[in-house]
Symmetry: C2
Subunit: 408 residues, 2 copies
């Protein structure tokens, strides 16, 4: 069963927003056993929408469409679907009732009220978390679903309505898929290390590499439940080859890998962040349940904060400067002490694009990770790209802590 | 001049990574005067790549292609382009030299060395920040460019090589575009407020709405420099209608709007974050130059941290609980005091998905913003989605601070 995703909206085409929806939809649909054939983003343009639907229906069984359902003039999806499927907009009282429930007594203005107009010739699915209804068209044995582009509305609707209904309609063969998160290899080094394994994979098996900072994701896959025994055999083989380099066997972010290790070991964590500006704390607390191991962070962007909150000594700052081994060591021990934790991560660097010197160019980062009385401080050199430096330092810091707690 | 973007890679289709490249490319190309007709994401599949190129060339003048250029087996773009353009891979010594420069003495392994094979019948553009070369094909008056998918490599190459070369090749009419960031309106309320303006826009003008949490982005646009006087007139009209609701007249994030206001007024900021877990500090420090106004944050994820670092009283915590008006008030004044700042933001809430109660359901957030001796605390109700709650609380907190500092 093949599916295609069509994202509608000029904002996407001019790059005003990043399309995160289609990645999420792809992942869920792939898990559900569909093969995503293609994704397309097009403008709020009736002719282009209709042509794209026609083209896409030539290649796929299911079209999932998002966007263009807002109450304003530039949103034309509903009207265009009426033209495509040769039907008309009619007023649907259930949609209005749903909107009134969502508004909980607040006045529903006319533009919002117009959301209750839906194509006559389709199945209307109520949107329990937003005002735009979902429309499902059955067409020559195929399906087109039009959903709102607001991410949490789309996600709610996909999980609770669309995927269950697609499962009911189609008989789907699932993909077997396994992800390995591997530390310590570059893409080419890993490819060379597992070349024999890869060359000897049985027919139909696929292996994909996804590089990330300090990490590699490997994805092994094959379609069809009948390959399960061989699939399990290949997984075992890869586990033997990679050994301890495997940080996780699920596609989870580094902050979750670290969080699970801390939780298993009953350890608590704090961070002391200068150039990462709270990003490590943010990543760690993005994981539900992180309050079980994370106690807090001091984002010491100024020297004053380093001295007052982390008890870094003025003398160390004067002698070595804020971006130095000595200062990150004091920041890490200060964090453990003031936040009363077993482990800590301390980062100080020059994120850029300005602020570098000959000795300490933009991108210089010192990271200290501490576990009880053991601490390791390392220097890394990034680029002059602020965003990349922050992300990179955050990842490297979490990897460095993982290493130190694994050793104990 | 129309352009299309083709993103190649199974990782995109199965949703393992979010495609941020194509939004960036779209924005830069639109600024450069091109119209992005469509974006497509397809798999590492030779037939699909060739068919998509043929289809896309029917509709656009320039194809920008990213991905599938890694050194590993699953990357087949280069080989496929040879088939499409009827040419062969040849060894290019300049590419090898570039790789050796990048490796700065480290050994170049065979897989990486193979990156120096490039199609014979194309212009090779050196990649100064990565190992995969860029290939530019001139074809029946049109252009196809194949670039690596690694974001910072692609960005470097687009800005320094591709856009200047496209400008040289094509004579392009630029888009006039203006973005307004508007506070205090929902999409439909804003649409109703400016309905007259929108209905009376001269022919050819477009107006698009992009809703975001607590904010709306409005984009006014028209193609052709000759419309500049009318464009400026329409901008003035919109400015008069929206007045103080306009937070910015450029497409910049809220954290930058807030940062610029603080900097203009010579004010310093600290944050005290519980449920937002450092995300506000992260957003604020993502802006270059934020050290001019941001002094630091205490991420007080535990009560202990609230007491020890922010001097919230044990009694207040016992009486009202961590998620309460009283506690955020003490967090905000504590942050101003210990980080010695003019302003502060304090947030405490239940991000979820668990941890709620009847009185304080998941999604409850208290936000206190403080400017000198004035402080405002408000309660907001989110959903049970952790990520959304964190983003929403961060945005609302920054908006709440903007309001309080504007009033003074």
């Amino acid at each position: 069963m093949k599916a295609g995703i069509i994202t509608i909206g000029d904002e996407i085409l001019i790059g005003q927003i990043v399309d995160t929806n289609s990645a999420w939809i792809s992942e869920k649909m792939t898990e559900a056993g569909f093969e995503i054939e293609e994704k397309q983003a097009i403008g709020d343009n009736a002719e282009q929408i209709k042509n794209t639907i026609t083209d896409t229906f030539n290649r796929v069984d299911v079209i999932l469409m998002t966007g263009g359902l807002g109450p304003t003039k530039d949103d034309i999806t509903k009207k265009t679907l009426c033209e495509y499927f040769d039907t008309e907009l009619i007023y649907n009282n259930d949609v209005l009732k749903n909107i009134e429930t969502l508004f909980a007594g607040r006045t529903v203005n006319d533009l919002t009220r117009n959301q209750a107009y839906v194509p006559e010739n389709c199945t209307v699915i109520q949107n329990r978390v937003g005002t735009a209804p979902i429309t499902w068209f059955d067409y020559k044995g195929k399906v087109l679903v039009s959903m709102p582009g607001v991410p949490y509305e789309m996600k709610y609707v996909m999980e609770n309505e669309i995927i269950p209904r697609l499962h009911k309609k189609f008989d789907i063969e699932a993909y077997l898929k396994k992800v390995f998160i591997v530390g310590g290899y570059t893409e080419s080094a890993l490819a060379m290390h597992i070349a024999d394994f890869e060359n000897n994979l049985p027919k139909g098996f696929g292996l994909a590499y996804l590089p990330s900072i300090g990490l590699m994701k490997l994805r092994l896959f094959i379609k069809g439940e009948q390959y399960r025994p061989e699939f399990d055999k290949q997984i075992k083989k890869l586990e033997n080859i990679l050994g301890n380099a495997i940080l996780a066997e699920r596609d989870i972010p580094l902050e979750q890998i670290l969080g699970e290790r801390l939780f298993e070991k009953g350890l608590t964590l704090s961070t002391a962040e200068s150039c990462t500006g709270g990003n490590i704390a943010h990543l760690i607390t993005s994981i539900a349940g992180s309050s079980n191991y994370f106690k807090g962070s001091v984002v010491s962007y100024s020297n004053e904060a380093k001295i007052n909150l982390l008890h870094v000594s003025q003398k160390t700052l004067d002698l070595f400067g804020a971006v130095s081994e000595e200062v990150v060591q004091e920041m890490a021990s200060g964090a453990c002490r003031v936040l009363n934790t077993d482990c800590s991560i301390a980062v100080s660097g020059i994120a850029g694009p300005d602020g570098g010197s000959v000795d300490k160019p933009v991108g210089t980062v010192w990271i200290c990770t501490r576990y009880k009385n053991k601490s390791v401080a390392k220097k890394y050199q990034g680029s002059n790209l602020r965003e990349t430096n922050i992300i990179r330092a955050s990842n490297l810091a979490m990897l460095q802590l993982l290493e130190i707690i694994e050793e104990v």
